[in-house]
């Protein structure tokens, strides 16, 4: 177990560097100048200076300098060379607070002047994590429940209707479901607030909408796993020894049927927790998802790389957690 964790953690930086390289190359190839305001244009010499300041005039220089500041190498070297100490002393002699300097610096946002990428991620990631965790939780309950119901009597009315609902969950785009829910529950019934993130009440509608495609997928995985498991010999044995139907279903069959669901949970959780552009737009959730789209449109290089690296790290970590859980739940797995 420990070797698995160690091996994965050691591979993490390597994978991240590969992802960083690919993302930066792609983002660099996007046409347009990130420093250009769509309506008003700074002077050419000003653009040139800005390009120089952010190393936007040279791919290799940008590649290295960003890598250094994001991994903390810049901080370490400035610390070793005494630069950080000098800055601190200068601030103290002038009697002003020491300007904060993060160790892992993802750089400034080129679009939002007053924010660093670190601040944007700090502000938006917790929101997305809350929403994503709630959505996965709801998806688990709905999905496993529907899967079990379907598997008990395959091809019955209950089974077909859960199948049909899960098909709808997968195929209907979330902006349609989201808008319909917003109209019904917020505007007409007035049960939930519109566009006011923060209270537990405001999480329910977006989390439910976000959970639907995941729930549908989980339902189908559970149903297939349960049908397989219910036909197995050990279930007949359990029934033969007089175990109750409830115990057979939940204790014996579900335990095996849950494994594919668990392996789906890793990437699903990472995906749900890094935000959904559409859901955030419809329900006005201040999460991280929109930056995956808008940062590219704004060619906000630092922000693009920042959010992609966060997503990649979460994806790898959740897969690791799932693998550990997997082994713990089912010791047969090597």
């Amino acid at each position: 177990m420990m070797t698995l964790i160690l091996r994965r953690l050691l591979a993490l930086p390597l994978i991240l560097i590969v992802i960083y390289t690919i993302t930066l190359t792609l983002a660099w190839a996007v046409p347009g100048n990130p420093l250009e305001n769509p309506e008003k244009r700074p002077k050419p010499e000003v653009i040139e200076q800005m390009n120089k300041q952010y190393n936007l005039d040279s791919f290799p220089r940008f590649y290295i300098s960003y890598l250094k500041s994001a991994t903390g190498v810049s901080y370490a070297s400035d610390w070793l060379s005494g630069q950080i100490k000098r800055e601190r002393e200068m601030a103290i002699t002038e009697g002003i607070p020491v300007p904060p300097r993060p160790i892992f610096d993802f750089g400034p946002s080129l679009k939002y002047d007053d924010q660093t990428v670190n601040e944007i991620i700090r502000d938006t990631l917790p929101v997305s994590v809350t929403l994503g965790a709630s959505a996965i939780l709801i998806a688990l309950f709905i999905g496993v429940g529907a899967g079990v119901i379907g598997a008990v009597k395959p091809n019955s009315f209950a089974d077909l209707s859960t199948l049909a609902i899960s098909m709808i969950g997968i195929s209907l785009p979330s902006f349609v479901i989201g808008t319909a829910m917003l109209l019904t529950f917020s505007l007409w019934l007035g049960w939930f607030p519109i566009a006011q993130w923060g209270t537990p009440k405001s999480i329910i509608l977006p989390a439910f909408t976000l959970s639907l495609p995941f729930a549908a997928y989980i339902a189908r995985l559970t149903r297939m796993g349960m049908i397989d498991a219910l036909g197995a010999d050990y279930i007949r044995t359990a029934r033969a020894k007089g175990a109750s139907e409830f115990s057979v279903l939940l204790k014996h069959a579900l335990k095996n049927a849950f494994l594919p669901v668990l392996s789906f949970l890793g990437p699903a959780t990472a995906m749900a927790m890094t935000g959904s552009f559409v859901i955030e737009r419809v329900f006005t959730v201040p999460g991280m998802g929109e930056h995956f789209v808008n940062a590219v449109q704004n060619k906000d290089l630092f922000l693009i790389i920042g959010v992609v690296l966060v997503f990649a790290t979460m994806l790898i970590m959740f897969n690791l957690i799932v693998d550990v859980l997997y082994k713990w739940i089912d010791p047969r797995i090597e």
């Binding site: 060379s81 944007i120 502000d123 917790p126 688990l140 006005t284 859980l325």
Partner: protein
Amino acid sequence: MLRMLVPVFLLLTLIGISVLSDRPAPRADLVFINSSEVNTLDPQRMSWMHDLRTARLLYQGLVQNDVLADDFAIIPAVAQSWDVSADGTTYTFHLRDDAKWSNGEPVTAEDFRYSWRRAMLPDLVSDYVNMFMNIQGAAAFYEWRQEQLSAFPDREFNSPADRQRGAYELWDQTKAKFDQLVAMHAPDPHTLVITLERPVPYFLELCAFAVFSPVYEPLVWQYERPNPTTARLIRKPGWTKPNVLISNGPFKLTQWRMKRDMRMEKNEYFWNKDAIAINSILMPSITDPNAGVLAYQTGALDWVADVTAPYRGDMVAQKLEFLEEHAEEVQRYRAQGLDQFTIDRLLPPDPRAHTHAVSSFGTYFYNFNCKPKLPDGQINPFADARVRRAFAMCVDKRSVADDVRRLGEPTASTLIPPGSIGGYTSPTGLPNIGDAKNQAERDAIIKQARELLIAADFPDDFIVEMAFNKDSGHDLIAQAIAKSWQKHLGVKTKLEQNEIKIFREDLKNKDYMTARAGWFGDYGDPTTFLNINYSTDGNNDRAYNNPVYDGLLDQAARELDPSKRMKLLHEAERILVEDDLPLIPIFHYATIYMFDPHKVTGLSTHPRTKQNAFLIDIMTDDIGPNKPKPMRHAVTGATTNGGTSP
């Protein structure tokens, strides 16, 4: 079984932690959507309209516009009075004693010198740096600093510490250079004397622009240090954050959560705080146009400052229907000279009346590439002004405004919205088929346009490319215009839709034939529109170059007599919209607001569309006088000196 529940427990803990760590704040006195997320709260770095609108809440400049008066006059703000020298180049501002920063410190003339010096530095890349170049010595100061910065990386130093000292020394020299070169002096803390390069009749308008607001030096300097390797001042974000920012406006920043909301409370040190009828403002960040309208309908918002929902045309149509039902009263009130918000308030309450189309200080137009040759080397037929005139006459502007936009916007025959600038008379512009009174007149215009094309030898089978960016319905407008040209001029068209960045790039490189465009004025003078067609201007996307036009603008810049100057500018615009047509004005923008006219008052209907949200009074709450604030009619004359407080 229990092991299977582990993921569930993990998720529950996560949710629990984050829900508990987030505390919702009570509703503010005024809640409004500010169209889009604020980019920056650094006034010298601003250029977006919603940023400037926010800045006017947090900061206050020397003077301000009286937005609730018909003439939009300049009235005192931090300066309580000012004198202008006879030759119009020296302004002496007398600052009020009770102007204070939000920490209680007095606002002094030095604060303005510091802030305007910031804007004049090439380091800061202010979008509006050109506006400061009217001040004597500013251009020389900018150039000097720019040269020093370019030379610095090549200078030899013994050690990094030496290099850093060098950067700081250069900064000290820069400050000395500013004192020496730039004609901005503070003989005492409450007097500011500014000498201009040449008379600038709209200089006070510039002083009312948020970019000219003061910032608090002891705070800002902490975040703006010379970079040890480049010597440039590197601006670190941080001083514009809640509970850090120190500002001098009616409100102070208490919360700013990216993409979520911005909250402000009344600044207890503001000199005119008793005139403010709201104690707190919340600006939730709602980017989805539909969610904004829905949130308004649930009562969560008091004002939506820019409705962009796709169905807003229907909302405007319903409003017109409502006004139609009360046609008689509306007629009577209009005859009395009442403004549109006041009329809405005098009519019976109706949800349809919450939509308001307000004319804006901007124009939608189509650019022509005026270069003799197109990028592919072939001769550009649009280099011929006759061709441009013919195309301009045959755009059915009425149909674009009424059938495509459907916001009740006026069609445009000039670049500057008529009536938006006091003392300026707009030219007539070319006849247009959309505004023809009858079919005969329409046919005559088409015939005239076709003759122009023949005279200009417009090539047969030429395909006219029309470039526009995605979103905002530009595609529908392009289709309507293309249809007009096909039908009336018999030309072929090709629509080219691109992402905004690519579209901008093409415009800059003049890699287009015709392209959609829009321009909003920054200050109350015709030059804010006319300058973009000056041959060397950075925003001259048309590559338009007419020495006569440039000459008129130059001559106007030297003219001291305001009415003669306006005549020169009138002639320049006449050349633009009647003879040369480097652009086709299509319509003047309207902005769609949502607010309850029986509840919210203090918004301006002036076509300059500059709203000062601190003037708003919610008439249903228990703060402030709760009396309607209709637009006031101008008292003739008194616009140049002194005046009364708002």
